[in-house]
Amino acid sequence: MSFEWQFLLLIFASNGFVIYFLYRPLKVNVSDDASNVAISKQKKQELADDVTKGLISESLYQEASDEITRTLASELSQNSSQTAAINPLKWAIALSIIIAIFSALIYAQLAPKQGSSAVTEMSPSLSLEQSVESLKAHLDDNPENGKAWAMLGLAEFNLGSTAKALVSFKKAYLLIPADIDMLLQYASVLASTQEGDFSGAPQSLIDQALEVDQNSVHALYLVGIVAANDGDLLLAGQSWKKALYLLPSDHPDKAVIEGALNTLSNFESTNDFTLTINLEISEDILALRSSQDYLMVYAKALTGSPIPIAIIKIPLKDFNGTVSLSDSDSLSAKLSESSEVLVVVRISSTGMATKQASDVEIVSGVVSLAETRVVNLQVE
């Protein structure tokens, strides 16, 4: 049966349904008055029960009962109606025409405009293998269809033919190098051949996707994963935060990215937050100092309390060129919770908290912890 006939059948069924009830209307069950009277009776009964339950005093019972009566009286006085008859035939014709014409007009307005032979000819429930064959046949005739190559690649990958998938994706890449979906799928398939490692070619494809659209949420998410695997937690955090910002608030992916960020921040704050200070002390200075001297390295706030946020004190003789400050070295506020600090390096013969006349001290410029975790300083 063709489309048109099926639609006509549906319209016919709709009209028949409406016409049936025009000629055999449903019975009116109860009137407003009957309903209000019954409800008022029940309300009076409930009021009497309320007296038994102690929910209204006996002295006020009569007043409340009168209120119910007055309400009923005012409700009954509002009723007035006289039913007029209709001509069912006239209405049946009118409604039938309306249903037929308007449904056809609205559907014509909304239905797909393309010659949908490709859509209707293909069975909707092809197996993956059949679909691959069908797609290959399509590509024989349309070898320049990059999207189709990408689809083929994805299907082959899902069928476990990774090598074939890579060939298809390569063709797709040559035809539609700026297609973000294709680039990211290609990157994922390539990464799967490297035990899920995105470094190298997959990373390059992700970078290309970002060049096409620096706001591609999926690309940003993958950049974050690559960065996290490389240990670059800063970049991972930045990428995921941007992806989060770009996602609609009700988007379910948001929770996944929030979860990743949450893990990252907890991980950073509890385990990995370190500020590395690469320190170069000139030979001249070292020559002047005793092996009993101390090296004190600390981070302090730009303004406010002079008390260090985090501090390390080691014998100068144990110094090996690098000092790391972390939350475990914090005195009051956590280092990981600070945004900007000054790093102070002091070589002290006493190791006392306040600077002595014989101490050598240098202070770094402002260190933004959101941007860097490494500070290079020289003591000359």
Partner: protein, 634 residues
């Protein structure tokens, strides 16, 4: 072919909805009963075609018909059958179709279960529901068509968002929508009464059971959402004050006020104007929630301006519904019967206080939800309003409501005295004083937990005392009364669960090495192994964690799943009990056999959802009370 049938069915549904609005309305104004009586058949026809459309879309998912764009974007051949079904409402277009289907279900329910309501009233209500359906069907067909077909049929569909591949989320949206959309019924009762100019006892009586059922579904929907967020999102929270959550919570607060206000209006003829406004407000907030969630305005007000079609449509519809119903109210308010008198100390006043507090709390949530959007739209910067604001403002507002909730059921209608309350409740209050004095020594010194425990004890002792009092008297214990007791106890259970888990819960992010135990909240956790695994439509890592609880061994199997999209998903392992949950989520591999892992100890967290279930159960009990089976003579 079938897809076109589904699409055409949706068009026919729109035609039936339009006829539902037009034909009975002509009948009302020309007193032609046969036309008015067409309302029920027209709503049945409209609902039938929506059901057909929904079934066709569901079939497309089951058959992997990727010629349908919506199916191709949200399902693939690897997806398990259950999730293919739930994928139907997994994204925008399908969820709107579900919205329309549920509105149809409510409309048919009104037409079938309102045999004691006068036909004229029911028909007018169906017309209003039909008007709401027209708006949503137009929105669906012209901006969010789920039957759009693709020119090139993909051989495989995309992944359904992994977060949605969960049983909890398969049932959460339908339940929430049942509540959201159910508020359209009290709204329709009120608007139809305003249109008819007959704000009588009938509409008040029959609005309440529908409001109760809608409220029960909304409660279940919100509770399910909270439960799902807890176990699925992987960080153990149960409520985040997220705008999407607030969108469902605001109508809940107003609907709570409505069911109490309806009780007073119906029984004592007071607050009728207020009740009308609450019914309009409840559904308006449902629509506002839809606008916030569906327009993209929550992401950025500028995103709304970039792609305004959907948002603009809902905004216009929102203005028509809210503006139209308020205009109708101002026109017809003179017909609303004036409130009967009651004194300052009375049950009516108690319920009024409850209403004022609930609506104030709703405005507090509304402010916190809309304020960032207003600032953003005025280019005054981006701010985020989160739990610090809501905890500080919302919680204190609600405490008086909880205190009043226990007392009001003891109060008398019209007039009461404190001395009478003292005479019947002094024993109960003496118990409370004892509890307040002794609790800090025996339970905890955490002030928030203590306050929660006092509120719990306050509600529980009063509710049980009320029940005992009623059982001793000659009066019947009705289902409505039992429903009230259960719902109020549910609030107490929720309060204690929410506070204890928030205040006394322990959360640890740990670097765990295989074989090395770590202690959290007195439990020893050992990561025994992490192994790769492959499931039907995802693969990943599965951990084996052993927790030791006083010599008892608890095995926990958290998973880290990787779906086709590359999106990792955390599947937490939970050892549940009424006293506490142990919650373990597997994080990332840190190399050398080390894994990041999140371990939570959540005392009494289950009480939160138990409370939610009790509240919903209470509402359902009240809705099926015998008083709603009144016999009305024809």
């Amino acid at each position: 072919m079938l897809i076109e049938i589904g699409h055409f069915a949706l068009v026919l549904s729109l035609i039936f909805a339009i006829l539902l609005v037009v034909v009975p309305t002509i009948g009302f104004y020309q007193n032609q009963t046969n036309l008015v009586q067409l309302a029920k058949p027209l709503i049945w026809g409209q609902s039938f075609w929506v059901l057909i459309a929904f079934a066709v879309l569901m079939n497309a998912f089951l058959m992997d018909d990727f010629s349908v764009k919506y199916v191709a974007e949200n399902s693939n051949t690897q997806l398990p059958t259950l999730f293919k079904l739930s994928a139907v409402w997994g994204a925008h277009e399908g969820s709107l179709l579900l919205w329309v289907l549920i509105l149809s279900v409510w409309s048919v329910a009104v037409s079938v279960f309102s045999k004691r309501v006068p036909s004229e009233v029911v028909n007018q209500i169906l017309v209003v529901l039909g008007f709401v359906s027209v708006g949503f069907l137009l929105f669906l067909l012209f901006t969010s068509n789920p039957f759009e077909v693709l020119e090139i049929i993909p051989i495989e569909g995309r992944e359904l968002n992994p977060l949605l591949q969960d049983v909890g989320l398969a049932i959460h949206p339908p339940m929430l929508y049942m509540g959201y959309v159910g508020l359209a019924v009290p709204f329709a009762f009120v608007v139809s009464a305003l249109i008819r100019g007959k704000l009588d006892s009938t509409w008040l009586r029959w609005t309440r059971p529908w409001a109760l059922v809608a409220w029960a579904f909304l409660t279940i929907g919100i509770t399910l959402g909270s439960w799902w967020a807890y176990y699925e999102l992987g960080w153990g929270g149960w409520w985040f004050w997220d705008p999407v959550e607030n969108a469902s919570f605001m109508p809940w607060l107003v609907a709570t006020a409505l069911i109490h206000s309806l009780s007073v209006s119906e029984k004592r003829g007071a607050f009728r104007q207020w009740t009308v406004l609450l019914a309009i407000g409840g559904f308006s907030l449902s629509l506002l929630g839809t606008f916030l969630v569906r327009s993209g305005v929550l992401t950025s007000v500028h995103a709304f301006a970039t792609d305004p079609t959907r948002g603009l449509f809902i905004l216009i519809f929102l203005i028509v519904i809210i503006g139209g119903s308020l205009a109708l109210y101002s026109w017809r308010s003179v017909l609303i019967q004036k409130s009967n008198k009651f004194s300052l100390v009375s049950r009516e006043t108690g319920l009024l206080i409850n209403n004022v507090v609930l609506v104030s709390a709703m405005f507090c949530v509304l402010l916190g939800t809309l304020y960032p959007l207003i600032l953003d739209s005025l280019n005054l910067g981006k701010i985020s309003v989160g739990s610090p604001y809501f905890d500080a403002v919302f919680v204190p507002i609600m405490i008086p409501a909880v205190i009043a909730m226990a007392l009001v059921p003891f109060m008398r209608w019209k007039k009461d005295t404190f001395s009478r309350l003292w005479s019947i409740l002094r024993l109960d209050w003496a118990c409370m004083v004892l509890i307040v004095v002794l609790t800090p020594f025996f339970i905890t010194d955490n002030i928030f937990v203590l306050i929660a425990f006092y509120l719990f004890a306050w509600l529980t002792t009063h509710s049980l005392f009320l029940l005992t009092q009623r059982l001793r008297s000659k009066a019947k214990v009705t289902l409505a009364f039992l429903g009230m007791i259960v719902a109020h106890l549910g609030i107490g259970v929720f309060i204690i669960g929410a506070t204890v888990t928030t205040q006394l819960g322990v959360e640890k992010d740990l670097k765990m090495t295989i074989g090395e135990p770590q202690t959290v909240a007195g439990y020893s956790f050992t990561l025994n192994a992490v192994e790769k695994f492959q499931a039907e439509n995802y693969k990943g890592f599965r951990g084996n964690v052993i927790a030791m609880d006083n010599g008892r061994t608890i095995e926990l199997i958290p998973e880290k799943r990787l779906y086709q999209t590359g999106m990792p998903m955390t599947e937490a392992a939970i050892d549940p009990s009424l006293s506490r949950d142990l919650y373990v989520a597997l994080g990332e591999s840190l190399g050398n056999g080390n894994w990041s892992m999140r371990i939570y100890y959540k005392p009494m967290v289950r009480w939160i959802w138990l409370g939610g279930i009790m509240i919903a159960l209470g509402a359902l009990l009240a809705a099926v009370d015998r008083r709603y089976r009144i016999k009305v003579k024809s």
